[in-house]
């Protein structure tokens, strides 16, 4: 593979942000097929259009997901990227790594792939970019045998679950996101590797309503940590914040002079439910009015902590806009205990109830949230065997078109029009 002239891409070697062009050039010194990545990309920069073909089904035996076929539409000109398949690897929960594991993966990818990666893809997998078809099986064999490492998901299956950093390094996490993510990932290896669903399905685990893994925006089942009962207050620390001795918002605003910290303005007045006030130098919270938005905890992390009774809110049905518009996940279970003690039994039961329904009712390429929208939230709540709650809605319906069931109406729907006419002339 020859080096190509890349005057347009070379412009992206300038500037303070790390340059992927410089990085690919560095890799090309060892893996010459990378010159063809740059060559083909340069052509796309000239022509303003992609040069990758549509799809192509490749994989390893026994799996229906984890590898995405990719072929150049100019294989003669850029032979190094003739086959350039994506291999998705299941990332460890929270994306911590030992350098040993990463070096082993790098060595394996140097042997069988292009050397280029995404750390990580949007869903969370480690993404290995650029592999020839014939290298897939040996890569997979050595990865499973020597590195104890598996592929992730792709296609109409359970996609590789992902989680926020959780209690491993965050004080707000209301359940063990990494354990939940890992255990459910292991529990559903078959669903991840062998597509059997109407479309993709995603779980994401966030430890608190800040939702750092964007569960509510992009997962079919969003498990978002929350608490019941009172926010734990350290009044001495509140005083320290008020006195300006501790930087507000964990120091996040330190780069600009916003003036002296003002608890009334910055915390109490920004509370969406107005459930906080100062009294005798102490911060008071009417926790029964609190919606656990996290603002006050974010601003005063040393003074306020989530309540001690912790669990998660489960929301269902988020997706990006294709096709009928974006959906956030809808609140379905306000509070669920999420614990490794019972192997996440309640959550697993909940998920499988959704699957039983969606696999029956969902149309081809219909996300769970779209099926919910098509058949209605009342239907979904009934299918899930849940009681309807005012927490399921933002506001009650403003139209009167209730789908009454026959058994709900005295006498049912069958009536005799002759008998009606005997009493009511036409």
């Amino acid at each position: 593979m020859a080096k190509h002239e890349t005057p347009l891409l070379d412009e992206l070697e300038k500037g303070p942000w790390p340059s992927f062009v410089t990085d690919i050039k560095r890799q090309a010194e060892k893996k010459p097929e990378c010159w063809d990545i740059l060559g083909q990309l340069e052509l796309s920069y000239v022509e303003k259009i992609t040069h990758w073909k549509h799809g192509g089904i490749v994989g390893v035996f026994g799996y229906g997901g984890g590898i995405v076929g990719r072929y150049s539409d100019l294989p003669k000109r850029f032979p190094g990227v003739e086959h350039f398949h994506t291999v998705r690897l299941a990332q460890p929960a929270s994306k911590y790594y030992s350098t040993k594991h990463l070096r082993d993966l790098c060595d394996l990818w140097e042997k069988y792939g292009s050397g280029m990666t995404n750390m990580h893809g949007s869903t969370g997998d480690m993404v290995m970019l650029g592999c020839r078809t014939e290298a897939l099986e040996p890569f997979f064999y050595e990865m499973t045998h020597n590195l104890n490492q598996d592929l992730g998901g792709s296609g109409s299956n359970l996609r590789t679950p992902a989680n926020c950093i959780g209690s491993s390094r965050c004080e707000w996490s209301c359940y063990d996101t990494e354990e939940a993510c890992h255990q459910l990932t292991m529990h559903y290896q078959d669903e991840i590797h062998r597509p059997a669903f109407p479309y993709k399905f995603k779980f994401k685990f966030s430890g608190c309503p800040n939702d750092c893994v964007a569960a509510i925006a992009r997962s079919d089942v969003a498990v978002i940590g929350t608490w019941r009962g009172n926010i734990r207050i350290d009044q001495a620390a509140v005083k320290e914040y008020v006195a300006g001795n501790i930087p507000s918002n964990g120091g996040a605003h330190a780069g600009r002079d916003w003036g002296k910290f003002d608890i009334q303005k910055e915390v109490i007045n920004l509370c969406p439910t107005n459930c906080m006030w100062m009294e005798g130098g102490e911060l008071k919270i009417d926790d029964s009015e609190c919606t656990r938005c996290m603002h006050c905890l974010n601003v005063m992390p040393r003074a306020l902590r989530p309540g001690a009774e912790q669990g998660a809110t489960i929301c269902v049905g988020a997706k990006a806009p294709i096709l009928d518009g974006a959906q956030f996940a809808t609140l379905i279970v306000p509070f669920m205990k999420v614990s490794a003690d019972n192997e996440f039994e309640e959550l697993i039961e909940f998920i499988e109830k959704i699957w039983d329904w969606w696999m029956e009712e969902g149309k081809n390429r219909e996300r769970c949230g779209e099926t919910m929208q098509r058949l209605g939230l009342p239907t979904f709540i009934k299918v899930m065997g849940l009681d309807p709650l005012p927490q399921h809605i933002k506001e009650p319906r403003s139209n009167p078109y209730v789908f009454w069931q026959e058994e709900e109406v005295p006498g049912g729907f069958d009536r005799d029009v002759e008998e009606f006419r005997a009493r009511h002339a036409a």
Binding site: L41, I49, T117, G124, D150, Q189, A252, C293, P301
Partner: protein, 375 residues
């Protein structure tokens, strides 16, 4: 034993999943999981987490491209071996976090990172711009309407000072998706850069019957614009489809289902800008990003129009928003008419929704502000 192509199923291992995360926790994390009391950002890119055991975890966050080589990963490993006991992590936004267990170890780590050119910029914390999450673009995707890595590099070069500082009213999350499939889930970002197509698909009548299930291609269209049709190919009548261009909203879903319906085009494709989304429940509920600039051209290698648009919005927000206010909260407080005025973005009819549920976004009150839009 090594892989035997003649007997691929022999000695096969499958469904073993990812490695167990606890193998990869740095010692200070392993010892203090679930015991953290509070955190503080001591300088841009440096966080300390304090445990009830008294232990401290100091984290140095650095930005990285999403597209990285194994050479760069090995260099990260070298850094982690030298300073971090052989462990580090990645964030969901493609940042890299190096963790040490005492303050004294932070400066040597920072010095080391700094000595390696511009490969490891420290920042991405607090009220600043953190790394842009994005998709593959022209580097590795078959449906993109723009590149991803290149646009992100150009934008981050321009916004670099916001990555290494914390001067904004709140964190600003920028995301890029290179087509409407939105693999990057940009629909809930403070500023979203979105690749868009503007020409209906072409129909490759010669190939369509060989590569497509026609009913799937037809049902792929959310607006019923794809209909069954017949065409003559080399004197033979073949079954195919036709597209009612007036109904096409350029979503590309038909091409996803049918490789014989390509729609990418050098002049048709470009970038739309959406703003005001958020994921966090903090103060206000999560919000979708809203379309404020319907189209900017693809201008590689540095997309100056897109870079200027993003920077313009960011700086108008930085100047005008209250402390803690996210871009969407700011826009809602001042009113969208003021948003367009303050950002100096021309309001066009393209920002008025005419898709499903559009009525939800139409204003049904007499409350409005007089802006320059009203003559």
């Amino acid at each position: 034993m090594a892989y035997d192509p003649a007997n691929p199923m022999v000695d096969r291992i499958s469904d073993i999943g990812p490695r167990y995360y606890a193998e990869f926790h740095p010692p200070v994390i392993a010892a203090n999981k679930g015991k953290w009391l509070w955190h503080e950002i001591t300088q841009p890119g440096v966080l300390v987490h304090k445990s009830e055991t008294g232990d401290e975890c100091w984290t140095v966050r650095v930005g990285a491209a999403r597209l990285i080589s194994i050479e760069l990963i090995r260099e990260m490993c070298d850094i982690a071996d030298k300073h971090c006991e052989g462990f580090f992590r990645f964030t969901t936004r493609n940042n890299v976090e190096f963790m040490v267990d005492s303050k004294a170890k932070v400066q040597p780590l920072l010095d080391d990172l700094k000595s390696r050119g511009n490969k490891f910029p420290v920042g991405g914390t607090g009220a600043g711009v953190t790394n842009i999450v994005h998709t593959q673009g022209w580097v590795h995707c078959h449906t993109p309407a723009t590149d991803a890595s290149g646009v992100v590099k150009a934008v981050m070069d321009e916004l670099f000072d916001y990555f290494t500082s914390m001067t904004l009213p709140a964190q600003v999350r920028i995301a890029l998706a290179c087509c409407l499939n939105m693999c990057g889930a940009v629909h809930a970002s403070d500023i979203a850069i979105l690749g868009v197509h503007r020409k209906p698909p072409m129909i490759d009548h010669k190939r369509i019957t060989g590569v497509c299930e026609l009913p799937l291609a037809i049902s792929a269209c959310p607006l019923g614009a794809v209909k069954p049709a017949k065409a003559m190919v080399d004197g033979v009548e073949v079954k195919t489809v036709q597209v009612n261009a007036e109904r096409c909203m350029f979503c590309g879903n038909c091409y996803t289902m049918c490789p014989a319906m390509p729609l990418a085009d050098p002049d048709g494709d470009g970038i739309a800008i959406l703003v005001g989304g958020k994921v966090s429940n903090s103060r206000s509920a999560p919000k979708f990003s809203k379309l404020v600039i319907p189209f900017l051209p693809n201008t590689p290698p540095r997309w100056p129009e897109t870079v200027a648009a993003v920077k313009g919005i960011l700086e108008a927000y930085a100047k005008d928003a209250h402390k803690y206010e996210r871009v969407g909260e700011w826009a809602e407080r001042i009113g969208w008419e003021k948003f367009f005025e303050k950002c100096d973005i021309p309001f066009t009819i393209k920002s008025i929704d005419d898709y499903r549920l559009a009525y939800d976004t139409w204003r049904t009150t007499t409350q409005f502000k007089y802006t320059s839009h009203i003559k």
